[in-house]
């Protein structure tokens, strides 16, 4: 069994196969040429690959492959109903459903839309409780459109979920998606007249820790945050070692809920890695302090990593992986202590996820 990196780029999907030791790597692709792969993942429940792919002429689609990318089936009929007054713009993120619902998947999209599939992605229904949320008039699009980019399902309860939208904020459902409540207390929105509104926050990535599912992390436009009570309260974290609170991607350790990784950028007005070098920052104490990891990373770089471009695997020690807008993929088999460039000169990288192959 080897590690399979799914690398979504602006010009197709690449697969990078690593051996079990994550020491040698082989590149395949591009697959789905002509499509911007905003997100690609492997559903661990049946091994299928799913792609959220967009084309500037032909719109947004979901593609599924049950043979590791040799053939693909496209979802048809994806869209928003007329009563919403909205039209689907782009698809952003595909998330597997709960283990107890093996045919269920979730899809995040612009404009601020969430869909549910109960047939392995053949058909999708909009989640109207979020699409028509009472606060929608206060939402506004970020630079990437009003994208629903983060979807997290509680590992013990399929009815508990989280979704995050830029710039609408974080939302939680306790009834499987029927109703949603905003959960943005103490999360800053410095670009608003009221810097702490109920909604309108620009979440860049939100993740739940599977071993401690009441704990959420978010990389926001305005800081790095952690919640230990399902989003009811958020604590801002970046003041002990991080060079900036601004950034897009976020990765969590597969087992230790106190370990998280971010790749900050200088700020909203200069979206490159700080100090002219590429560095990953790791906390091992729940965000109390952060250390710079840069062994094996280029020491002169003005790079950027997109919100979906960071992932971890389940191995021990954990593997950590990210891809840059300048087309490089970096891998660490040592929880971030050492890094190796495993692909370069790819098209701009939009997403990195980890799967497996045999």
């Amino acid at each position: 069994m080897g590690v399979l990196l799914l690398v979504g780029t602006r010009k197709g999907l690449f697969l990078i196969r690593g051996d079990a030791n994550r020491g040698s790597w082989g590149l395949e692709g591009p697959l789905l040429t002509g499509w911007s792969v905003f997100h690609a993942m492997q559903d661990s429940r049946d091994g299928s690959l799913y792609v959220a792919g967009n084309n500037f002429v032909y719109g947004g689609t979901v593609q599924r492959s049950s043979d590791l990318g040799r053939s693909w089936t496209r979802t048809e009929g994806l869209g928003l109903p007329e009563e919403t007054g909205l039209k689907l713009e782009e698809v952003w993120h595909v998330e597997p459903g709960h283990e107890s619902e093996p045919d269920t998947l979730w899809l995040g999209a612009t404009p601020g839309a969430l869909f549910r599939s109960d047939d392995k992605g053949e058909s999708w229904e909009p989640v109207m409780g979020l699409v028509q949320h009472e606060t929608r008039e206060s939402w506004q699009p970020g630079a990437g459109g009003m994208c629903c980019h983060s979807i997290q399902v509680h590992p013990d309860d399929p009815k508990q979920m989280y979704a995050a939208i830029s710039a609408a904020g974080a939302f939680r459902t306790d009834d499987g998606g029927e109703t949603w409540v905003a959960r943005n207390k103490d999360v800053a929105a410095d670009f608003m007249p009221d810097p702490f509104p109920d909604v309108g926050q620009c979440v860049h990535k939100l993740l739940l820790h599977r071993e401690r599912p009441d704990r959420l992390w978010q990389q926001n436009h305005c800081g790095v945050y952690r919640s230990d009570n399902r989003g009811d309260d958020w604590q801002r974290l970046e003041r002990n070692g991080l060079p900036a609170g601004f950034g897009f991607p976020l990765a969590l350790h597969p087992r230790d809920p106190d370990v998280a990784y971010v790749i900050p950028e200088e700020g909203a007005e200069n979206r490159v890695t700080p100090n002219g070098r590429l560095g990953v920052y790791r906390t091992t104490d729940g965000g109390g302090s952060w250390e710079l990891l840069q062994n094996g990373l280029p020491q002169q770089a003005w790079a950027a990593v997109m919100r979906e471009g960071f992932a971890s695997d389940e191995s021990d020690p954990a593997g950590i992986f990210f891809g840059t807008q300048s087309g490089s993929v970096f891998a660490s088999a040592s929880e971030g202590d050492e890094w190796t460039e495993v692909a370069q000169q790819l098209p701009p990288i939009l997403s990195v996820e980890v799967g497996e192959w045999s």
Binding site: N55, V57, Y58, G59, E76, G79, K87
Partner: protein, 85 residues
Amino acid sequence: MVVVRIPSLLADQAGGQGTFEVEAATVGEALQGLPVRDLLLDERGELRRLVNVYVDGEDARRAEGLETPVDAAGEIRVIAAVAGG
């Protein structure tokens, strides 16, 4: 029957087939008869903004759009607008 030709990226989404013969009275019916209809028309059945359709060389948007008759047409070509990067 009218012949419809689609670009290679769409042919990839149609099992490699780039030319179709379809029964249709209008451009809209012809596009609805294709296996890539969802990529040409949005969820309201409207032609996507950057999809251009030519009926015997004439831009359907300058005629009657999706209602443009095609009974006497020889060929419909679907062409992506020049856009993107």
